[in-house]
């Protein structure tokens, strides 16, 4: 019987200028870390391109710190800001 791990959902947020290859680069970064992408959303707000990616990090093969370092590298290469937060922080702040 396989043991089911509970999903641990994090939201990756990308802020900056839209360009070719953002989703591709992030998808590769997450796939290499065995992180499943659950949902993607994007919008232009206050003249800024914003994209959120909901990902499940429960099966990640690297610690969160390593994953964040890899995202920082992507951010630097593409001139973006990328953050990663546990989904529960948004729920706590925005849901009564």
């Amino acid at each position: 019987m396989s043991r089911q791990t509970r999903p641990q959902v994090c939201i990756a947020t990308v802020i900056g200028k839209d360009r070719v290859g953002i989703i591709a680069r992030l998808a590769v970064t997450f796939a290499r870390a065995n992180v499943n992408i659950l949902d993607v959303d994007q919008r232009v707000m206050e003249d800024t391109f914003v994209m959120t990616m909901a990902v499940d990090v429960s099966g990640a093969n690297v610690p969160l710190t390593t994953l964040k370092k890899r995202l920082d590298k992507v951010a630097k290469a593409l001139d973006l800001q990328i953050t990663l937060h546990d989904e529960r922080i948004f729920e706590a702040m925005h849901r009564v």
Partner: protein, 453 residues
């Protein structure tokens, strides 16, 4: 419903641009069970506990910080008031100083920057151990870097212990001159109605009504609130209050979530969320700048008290809605040296000591982190403390004083303390001692609780 992209963006912008953080996570720690008549045995026990739990606090905070992506700026420890722990030990100043040094070394080993609790509850009277602790404060706080002290000198139930207040002026001047630049005085706060679960230094201690351990959290600083006020320049004051409430609701919820997660990781009880807005000298992280963003031309100008009253009330309403565990000081901090806007207000003359005292009648913490000339009479310092505590006692709220007599400095000069403590412009004070009042001693009785008009 999954969270919307707008909601995520709002929070992420807060962390990236407006200093959104968890200002402090403070572990309250009972040390009463370590008490002993043997100083060496007692010292070994408290050192072991502080180091062990201090390391665990840092590990848990690092882990939660990574997972939630919200910086946890300060991790601190508050212990049982040391005057209680002194009771069975030899009555010698060296004993108290030794304990401060043990606390300091243990905190350093655990990478904890401040450890609070070197203090006493003396609102009604002083035991021999309380007096010993007060006598030891100048040596203890000048010989250590991380130890913070507190004294509760008054309460609405007991009145003001003027014998203890009278000792504070000479004590603080001695401490200022022993510690270079007077920085030792930044590490001690004296109070009326001191809360037992306050997570903020210098006044943090683990009160006698507390369990063995508790995690108490201070929410984010004023930068986030300043930003929403600045973004709403045209709304009326009722609407502005709503905007502030909503923002404080969000940052309080974040604070409570992080606090609970750290408590559960450490397997200790969660205590309270303190919703005080605690400024730092970082640009934008200033309570004075909130008041100015509300429309007051300069912090301290007429209109400041009314604006601060609105701010503090909105903060309390938002916080109380967000969490059933709001506690600690939960007001608005207006320290002079730690807030760039306050420093500027003093330097350009819009804010003086008298207005600062008036503001403390509606905000929670009192006269905080301000410097007075080095030649200020010790009895003047005691009298400033008595005045401030009277505001707290009569209004049934916490007030405190953290005053720094700046050695060798005159009004208008600047005292640089460095780091988190910032720079304090030395404020003008009427240097008129009142020995006729202070030498009477005794206790100012507790105020009447009815006839409240």
């Amino acid at each position: 419903m999954r969270i919307s992209i707008e909601e995520v963006y709002e929070t992420v912008r807060m962390t990236l641009d407006h200093h959104f953080d968890i200002r402090t996570v403070t572990l309250g720690m009972n040390l009463k069970d370590c008490m002993d008549r043997d100083l060496a045995r007692f010292s070994a026990r408290i050192a072991e506990r502080i180091v062990q739990y201090g390391i665990r606090l840092n590990e848990a905070a690092d882990q939660i910080e990574q997972r939630y992506g919200i910086p946890i700026t300060n991790r601190r420890i508050a212990v049982t008031p040391v005057a209680i722990l002194l009771e069975p030990l030899r009555r010698d100043i060296r004993t108290a100083v030794h304990i401060a040094k043990v606390m300091d070394r243990a905190a350093r080993k655990a990478r904890i920057d401040f450890i609070g609790g070197f203090g006493a509850m003396v609102q009604k009277g002083m035991t021999a151990a309380d007096q010993l602790l007060m006598d030891a404060i100048p040596q203890a706080l000048s010989a250590t870097r991380r130890v913070c002290g507190f004294l509760n000198l008054a309460s609405s139930a007991a009145g003001i212990n003027m014998d203890a207040v009278a000792r504070c002026g000479p004590m603080l001047k001695d401490l200022a001159y022993r510690s270079k630049t007077g920085v030792g005085c930044a590490k001690i706060a004296v109070f009326a109605n001191a809360p037992e679960d306050n997570p903020f230094m210098a006044g943090a201690h683990h009160g006698i009504g507390e369990p063995d351990f508790s995690i108490n959290v201070g929410i984010s600083g004023p930068g986030v609130v300043r930003n929403v006020v600045a973004q709403n320049p045209d709304c009326d004051l009722t609407e502005l209050s709503e905007v502030i409430k909503r923002t404080v609701f969000k940052i309080t919820r974040a604070g409570e979530l992080i606090g609970r997660q750290i408590a559960s990781t450490m397997e200790v009880p969660f205590g309270i969320v303190d919703i005080s807005l605690a400024p730092t000298t970082a640009a934008g992280d200033s309570v004075a700048r909130i008041i100015e963003a509300m429309g007051v031309k300069a912090m301290g100008a007429p209109g400041t008290t009314a604006a601060l009253a609105l701010l503090i009330d909105a903060v309390k309403k938002g916080g109380a809605m967000a969490s059933g565990n709001v506690g600690g000081l939960s007001g608005c901090f207006i320290p002079v040296s730690e807030d760039a806007g306050m420093i500027e207000a003093v330097q350009k003359g819009s804010l003086g000591l008298e207005k600062l005292e008036a503001l403390t009648s509606i905000c929670s913490v009192g006269l905080d982190m301000f410097a007075v000339p080095g030649d200020t009479d010790p009895q003047v310092i005691s009298a400033i403390i008595a005045d401030e505590l009277a505001i707290g006692v009569v209004n049934q709220k916490t007030t405190g004083v953290r005053i720094i007599p700046a050695p060798g400095k005159k009004a208008g000069q600047v005292l640089h303390m460095g780091g988190l403590l910032g720079s304090a412009p030395v404020m003008d004070v009427a240097n008129i001692a009142s020995p006729g009042l202070l030498n009477r001693g005794g206790r100012i009785p507790a105020p009447v609780q009815s006839l409240r008009n």
